[in-house]
Amino acid sequence: MKKHHYNPDSCIACTSCVAYCPVSAATRKFAGPKMMGPALERFRGGETNTDFSLDYCANCKNCDISCPSGVPISTLNMLARAKQYKNKRRSLLDWMMSHSDLMSKLASPIAALSNFGMANPLTKMILKQVGITDKMSLPKYASKTFLQQFRAFKQQSFPDKVVFFSGCFINYYAPEVGMDLVAVMQRNKREVIVPEGLDCCGSPLVGKGYLDEAVEKARTNIAALKHWFEQGIPVLTCCTSCGLMLKMEIQEMMDLELMEQLAAYTYDASEYLLELHAQGKLSTEFAPVAGCYIYHTPCHLRAQGIGKPSLELLSMIPGFQIEDADAGCCGQSGTYGFEVAKHDIAMAVAEPVLKRIREFQPDFIVSDCSGCRLQLSQGTGFPALHPLTLLRRAYEGK
């Protein structure tokens, strides 16, 4: 049996998932995870009506995390969503929100122009018509993608290799985080490999019910990665949603050859570094890093069930002070907070953590997930960093 294939039969209707669902707490439009997951699953035999409530699940996974019976509640939701929308005409919004990889491929080569275009009032108006909120700024394309920067970068070669799965956000919007990872690995005498032929992890597609396309992406990625993980070379992610997809969601939603092996060799980058530390192989030559920091744990990291490895790593930096916000979900859930229909819900979900950060008045917010960083930074006005960026600073004494 697949490690991450659970039986919806296990639900004892205890309703913990509802108590922990941030969306249920924020809106009555969502019937809640128990209802939309295991309860309705018993009736999803034949044709069912379109259920708009299904659209409100943000796939943040807090239901799965809280379930004492191990029911993959959010996955049942996503599978139902896929079934509901299969062969149906979809809105432009749904398409855009789930195919940002394709849009990025087109827009990123002309990053400056695209960024200008996205920011100008006319575009904003059009986007709003499509269903994208004008209350948030969309992320900006980087002038050079991670892949371009990486290919141009001369690494020192080491016998120990790691494969890096950057994912779309880091590639198009936050290449510096990818380069930070490369620098941190080089410090630890690891050579980073970025294989040809990698594709989007599929997480945004799953979230919008384009399951078939997500399956194709997963197939492509497994094909591109298998040469490496079959030799025992670990696959690193530093986007928590990509990580969750490779480690768990593929197994929960799909049935692909080698998916268990891929999952076994996939590590969150910080998780990997902690393992190195456990083996006495992590360089801990950290210089002090000044400033006041607050850490936010992404839901998709918590769903991986590996604790808060970044926080543990950062605490190794001498004299480093970082506060754990520990104030729940940020509401953004990938692209959820960008949608006009969901933005207010996302902000209601975010309120406790935003308040916590505002009161704490940090110099920087630290979080492993780009969506969380975007949301928290825009919601509070404080800048946000990936933990690997800080780690690199500690190594380089900046």
Partner: protein, 537 residues
């Protein structure tokens, strides 16, 4: 004293069928049921509308009756029947010679039987054993006994028929060899009553012997226990039968959201011997897993037991054999005119049984009207506009479910939601039952207990087996002042006790955890078990 022409004893399929038939023919009739409709075998059964396939080899006549009635019920009882079709699956260890004999027998009995390509069968039904050697399709279907009984009564009411539940017949009065009246006792309030009548129809199922005994007449019946188990999921969309001589645990029936497996068979003393045992459950799983390899891993919801009357013709009584399937006993032959009993049969053939006995009664009364029960639908179809309206208020899949459960009462339920949209909240999340639906049913003048609501709405019949809807339902009863003389505690106890009766024999795995949650809520949270002394006393 009340007066009618015919009193029918027993609110199972047979009794309600007779009530409907007589009412449609213009014979004044009152049906008396000691508990609620379908309290006996008509709900504690397998839910299978037989195609006749099961009986084809052994009893051609029963098979033919099933085949004919199956077609009739699909037509008149559309809202009680789920037209699933069924597979007969032969496993390698089952006798191929029987298969050949069975196909011929089906054809002879007029049962449409089609061989199914194995690959296709597995594609359509992915969970049954890969070992299958042959598969045939027959027009089996699933049928809901609660709904069938209720809708027969609704139909009868339109023709003046009356039904009284919680009314037990305690004696049958006679004068000069002629039935004159029945005496009754309300089983909730103890109130006594009587009804004058010319005819008493004994349709008391497994109790038929006891009821005849009230008139000093002996009918030789032995109740036979049959236990079934309900799984939390539908793992098959068709009825799955084992293609072998009928035996235990060889039929799976998808029924609404659950799958039913049965049955067992063992003689018992009491018609209401309804407590299933763990041994029976384990035996069912053990045999059932031959057809569904993964069966032991599927989540059990509950077990339940019904009884069938095994009739042994008494050599001294004059019987008129209508069919080996059921018998009609006119006790005039034993010196009591006006008492007539019906024994045996199947739920599938209830209408035919009702027709035959109504013919006999009409003969006595010189009523000429012909039987029309096979032509007219039990309840009217729901207007498409109403369905459209309802779709706005119900959760996915909820409209169809509610419509088939409620039938003509859907309109009232929708009105309640329109008047107060908060009433679309679900009381029972497992079976998608809205507050409005529960209220509609609770206000009916034949609803007294929370189990009555359960039988008509499926509230409490899903995964959590009453854990949440018990409390919510009780709140609704109290809010609407519907407790009707029962204390809140007794209302709740009665409801929970029926749930636990089916859960006790299957206390392991997830259901064990489920029941611990229930016990936590009701036992610890509400102190239902009285572990903590009541400080107000």
């Amino acid at each position: 004293m009340k007066k009618t022409t015919a009193v029918i004893i027993g609110g199972g399929a047979t009794g309600v069928g007779i009530l409907r038939d007589l009412s449609m023919r213009g014979v004044a009739a009152v049906l008396l049921e000691q508990r609620d409709l379908a309290y006996g075998a008509s709900s504690r059964f397998h839910g299978l509308l037989h195609s006749g396939g099961r009986y084809a080899v052994k009893d051609a006549e029963a098979a033919r009756e099933c085949a004919e009635e199956n077609a009739v019920l699909r037509k008149i009882g559309r809202h009680c029947v789920e037209s699933t079709t069924g597979y007969f699956v032969r496993l390698p260890e089952d006798d191929p010679a029987y298969e050949a004999k069975w196909v011929v027998a089906c054809q002879a009995a007029g049962i449409p039987v089609e061989p199914v390509d194995l690959a296709r069968a597995h594609r359509l039904e992915p969970h049954f054993s890969e070992r299958a050697a042959a598969v045939y399709e027959v027009p089996d279907a699933a049928i809901d006994g609660f709904r069938l009984c209720r809708q027969n009564v609704l139909s009868a009411k339109r023709y003046g028929g009356k039904m009284m539940n919680y009314t037990e017949v305690t004696s049958i009065e006679q004068q000069n060899g002629q039935v004159t009246a029945v005496k009754t006792r309300n089983t909730l309030t103890g109130e006594l009553g009587s009804i004058e009548c010319d005819i008493v129809v004994n349709a008391a199922g497994s109790w038929v012997g006891q009821v005849a005994g009230l008139a000093g007449i002996k009918i030789n019946v032995i109740p036979d226990r049959g236990t079934l188990i309900a799984f939390n999921h539908r793992f098959t969309d068709r009825i799955m039968n084992r293609l072998r001589p009928p035996a235990n645990a060889d039929i799976f029936v998808p029924h609404g959201s659950v799958t039913l497996l049965g049955t067992t068979s063992s003689p018992t003393e009491r018609p209401d011997d309804f407590t299933p045992t763990t041994e029976e459950v384990l035996a069912l799983i053990d045999e059932g897993k031959e057809l569904f390899d993964e069966l032991p891993r599927y989540r059990l919801l509950r077990a339940y037991t019904g009884t069938r009357p095994l009739y042994c013709a008494d050599p001294t009584a004059a019987t008129r054999e209508i069919s080996r399937n059921f018998v009609i006993l006119d006790h005039a032959k034993e010196g009591l005119d006006g008492l007539i009993s019906i024994v045996g049969g199947k739920l599938t053939t209830y209408r035919l049984m009702a027709e035959k006995i109504s013919d006999a009664i009409c003969g006595k009364l010189s009523v000429q009207a012909p039987c029309r029960t096979a032509e007219e639908a039990l309840v009217d179809d729901i207007a498409p506009e109403l369905m459209q309206q309802a779709k706005k208020f119900f959760p996915t899949a909820g409209v169809e479910l509610a419509a088939s459960r409620l039938g003509p009462d859907l309109a009232e339920t929708v009105q309640r939601i329109q008047a107060n949209p908060a009433k679309k909240e679900l009381v029972c999340e497992c079976e998608l039952v809205t507050l409005a639906e529960v209220e509609t049913v609770a206000h009916d003048d034949t609803t007294f207990t929370m189990s009555d609501i359960r039988r008509r709405t499926r509230m409490g019949m899903g995964t959590c087996q009453g854990t949440y809807c018990g409390l919510r339902g009780l709140g609704m009863m109290v809010d609407n002042d519907l407790a009707r003389g029962m204390t809140t505690e007794n209302l709740l106890r009665e409801f929970l006790e029926t749930r636990w009766n089916g859960i006790r024999p299957i206390l392991w795995g997830q259901q064990m955890r489920e029941v611990e949650l229930t016990r936590g809520i009701y036992g610890a949270g509400l102190n239902m078990d009285g572990a903590v002394p009541d400080e107000t006393e």
